[in-house]
Amino acid sequence: MSDFLEVTDVFTHFETPRGQVRAVDGVTFTLERGKTLGIVGESGSGKTILSRTIMGLLPTRGTVRGGTIRYKGEEIQGRAPSEMRDIWGKQMAMIFQDPMSSLNPLMKIGMQIAEPLIHNLDMPKDQALATAKRLLDDVRIPESVKRLNQYPHELSGGMRQRVMIAIALACGPNLLLADEPTTALDVTVQAQILDLLREQRQDRNMSMILVTHDLGVVAGHTDEIAVMYGGKIVEKAPTDGLFKNMLMPYTAALLESIPKMNRPSHTRLTTIPGRPPDLVSPPAGCRFAPRCPAAQERCHSEEPPLSSAGSPGHVYACWYPVGSPVYREAIERRAKETV
């Protein structure tokens, strides 16, 4: 089953006037059928570009792509858009962040859902609209018949996101790429949408890649998490395992910097000093080293490979992971200095 989606050494670079931006720089992972992978990272970590690279939805001009992406055993990296059209919608579907700008403002909701059915599956129009109505019911939009004839601006933000999910589900894809699907929504609506995604994924035995900046979102809704930093995956593990045992200092620091509800107010937050690396000229060695509390000389010169943590499926890229003697010593030294 592991040959559902296999991403090996994929990179995506963009030509800009400043030079080549190495937005995604050597990413490898596999995804099984029916599982959810969360990709977490801050802005500029390359998580969105990675999802678009897998989908093949990047502009061709000024883009340098490499590595292999095998979907159900077939190489899809580097395919022309005309070949990708057999996959788009039918095999892979995508959900975007902003439900307002992602729906065509001039087309009725019903037609936007029915469109892929008519043109990808050659369904007659009335049958496609009937299916669209069923899809609206599936994503829990009340008064679905009325909605078919409405335009996007007549719906609330949450409703629009449900419509976008319905569009994604229309042709029965096996892989759903959700790029920050709840970032533009309020928390109460976010919870509804995340529940809906989980339920639909289970009902339809789909795999999902959930891209987000929010560790809280991935914690409850994924099987596995990949943490990205500076265009690379720096740690990847089954969700439970990752939160129990974070090995990459970046992952740990990211979690620590989030204010927690269960801590008393005015708890001092742990911060990550500095800024994310410039991907035109990334630092040598480990890209997190300049901001890492435990960075040693080796970290600045030698790039750590993804190594296994012992527990199944858990890999990390660090010379001195959290808990290692060197790490512990460095942290203690730092704590003394600040006091």
């Binding site: 006037p17 400043r18 030079g19 080549q20 035109v280 000229s281």
Partner: protein
Amino acid sequence: MSAITKKRDWPTVLAAAWLIGLTILAFTADYLPFIRGYAESSPEGIGFSKGPFTSFLLGSDQLGRDVFARCIYGAQISLRIALFSIIIGTVVGGTLGMVAGFFGKASDRAISAFTDVMLAFPPIVIAILVTGRFDALRKNSEAFSWLSRTWSITFVLSILAIAPLARIVRAQTLSISQREFVLAARSLGARNGRVLVREILPNLVPAMVSVIFTGVAVLLIAEGGLAFLGYSIELPTPTWGRLIAENRNFIREAWWGTIMPCVMLFATVLSFNVLGDRIARRFDIREAAL
């Protein structure tokens, strides 16, 4: 490869060079021996027209006058009228637009109604009408004897420039006013005048400059049209439009008399448009329809 290679932007360089050169020539024409005097009479006599690149750079017309010299004098008049008009238009239109966009409410409604009405008039139609009526006014009333064609055309073109400028500035001001730094300035206790001058005006400048350049181009076109229809300034001073109109009847015999001022007008309008366009692109201003 990371070094930013700056390609020279030739259209901009050429446009700027053309405009600077033309302006210098036009406004120093009276002091230049190879232009001065050639515009009115010809050393070679009346009724003798010569082609370009002979003893005349751009040829001579039916009356033996040097086309190049006349084009340069034409440039002086055309440019002066267009520049005067755009300055008046910008000051009045810009102020109205800023007031409407910044203060809103009644002032906005009044000014918007005003621009709506102004924009209802087809510009050339209203221009010939007003110029024609000013002619009558000058003839019939002693008090308006000063109202020469130069004045009335400048006046008319200024009026025509006000409404589009006011509209653009209003829209820009409105969008800048909604930015949070304007709110921040107010929360610091800045007066309206200070907010307008310090916070809003500097952000208006790129759009204004761009619009001024394209505006001059539009006014040059309008002036050409007016002159062609017979509403140019009094003889003997020619404007480009007048040169085109009066030599057009001899186009079969001496095409240069008409084509050369056409080329001048076109090159100048193009140059202003190029500069306006570059500024708009540089500051990412959406193409505003003037």
